[in-house]
């Protein structure tokens, strides 16, 4: 961990933290049209890495004796496939590939948090990049983008499995079931309200949970890195804080390995569950 080259250009911890939490932005100051180019670039890099590896291994996959790397990929594939088969009892060509994409992508994106928090921003600064946030999932835009995809897929799977009439019928006929025309009219409004809340809450909770965890994790790393901010080797306190920084950094990194894996798993699992629910009749 470094003692922040960012320190040089400004003063104090607040500035340091603020700097670390600012995205590299194209179209800055244009409101909605601003693009967090660092999130996009890192996401695309991770995507390229994942796609190249996964598709190469899949294409070369043999049904004979697998190599070690194929065995590793198959392990992940079977883990995800098992989860999907346990949860979703219908037939779907979409859910399992979607689930493994979510798991691997979210995990790899989260894993960028394991890189020392000052390392890439420092390199970036040498190359003339003012701000750099390397963890795409610590950007609310990324997680909302994924959650909206999942939201749209939920609607798609619902319509595909139930037919358009049943699908929209359920907006007003469930969860409260009524018999007779009066009851149906009376329950329609609350049903619709509940359904809309339910549909809105899902992408919101998906995206906020992942974002919150990753943002908080990154912030802790920044705070740990800031322990030795502006210190000099001449002061005794530097060694004390340095030791504390090392221990805290080690502990939080170890703990964070669990968090990033768990968050990837939760995002995947909830997606599987939502899609399964969408495919089932109420």
């Amino acid at each position: 961990m470094g003692m922040a080259a960012a320190e040089a250009e400004s003063g104090g911890m607040t500035e340091y933290i603020k700097h670390h939490l600012t995205h590299l932005t194209v179209n800055e100051g244009q409101g909605f049209w601003a693009v967090h180019i660092d999130s996009v670039v890192f996401k695309l890099s991770i995507a390229a890495l994942f796609l190249v590896v996964f598709i190469t291994v899949s294409r070369r996959a043999t049904s004979g004796v697998p190599g070690k790397f194929q065995a590793f990929v198959e392990m992940v594939v079977e883990f995800v496939d098992g989860l999907v088969k346990e949860t979703f009892h219908g037939k779907s060509r979409l859910i399992a590939p979607l689930a493994i994409t979510i798991f691997c992508m979210v995990f790899l994106e989260n894993f960028l948090d394991m890189i020392p928090v000052d390392l890439l921003p420092l390199l970036g600064q040498k190359l003339g990049v003012a701000h750099l946030r390397i963890v795409p999932t610590a950007d609310l835009n990324t997680t909302i983008g994924m959650a909206l995809c999942v939201f749209l897929l939920i609607q798609y799977v619902g319509i595909k499995h139930k037919g358009i009439v049943t699908f929209f019928g359920e907006f007003v006929s469930a969860p409260f079931h009524a018999h007779g025309p009066v009851g149906k009219i009376l329950t329609a409004a609350p049903n619709l309200l509940l359904r809309l809340i339910e549909e809105a809450v899902r992408p919101l909770s998906l995206s906020l949970r992942l974002f919150g965890n990753m943002y908080a994790g990154e912030l802790i790393f920044i705070l740990i890195a800031a322990l030795t901010l502006g210190s000099s080797l001449a002061h005794v306190s530097t060694y004390l804080f340095g030791t504390a920084q090392f221990i805290a950094g080690f502990v939080w990194t170890a703990f964070h390995i669990l968090v990033i894996t768990l968050q990837a798993f939760i995002f995947m699992m909830l997606t599987i569950v939502y899609l399964s629910m969408a495919a089932e009749h109420h």
């Binding site: 598709i55 594939v77 992508m105 909302i144 983008g145 995809c149």
Partner: protein, 159 residues
Amino acid sequence: MDLTVTIVIQGLAFFAVAWLVMRFGWPHIIGAIEERQKKIAEGLAAANKGQKDLDEAKVRAQDIIKEARDKAVQIVDQAGKRSNEIVEDAKSTASTEGQRLLGQARESIVLESTRAREGLRQEVGALAVSGAARLLGREIDAKTHADLLDKLAAEIARG
């Protein structure tokens, strides 16, 4: 934390990755896994069948061995019986033959003795005649005394 068009870009990127995985990755690897599972299942079934065949073959081999053993015992029994029969046959044939030979020998003895007796009788008859002629000093007419001579010969023969 500002929400921007980044959402759309990230969403599309994610969607594209998922689509590529679904289209070009997943079917191949899951296909390979399922094919291998099928192969393993078939292999296990074949192994089971082989084991069963082997067990059956063992039982059949035992049966064949048992049958062969029984047959061998039977053959040995038969051979023993047959050899006894042959021995018995040979014994009876030999004894019959012996009896026959004995009979023949007896007959030939009787014949020989009869013949010898006949010869003797004639000789004795001739002797008696010549003796008598000498005693009487004259020729005895055999024809005249045939009756007497025959009696004499018969007496000698009897004696």
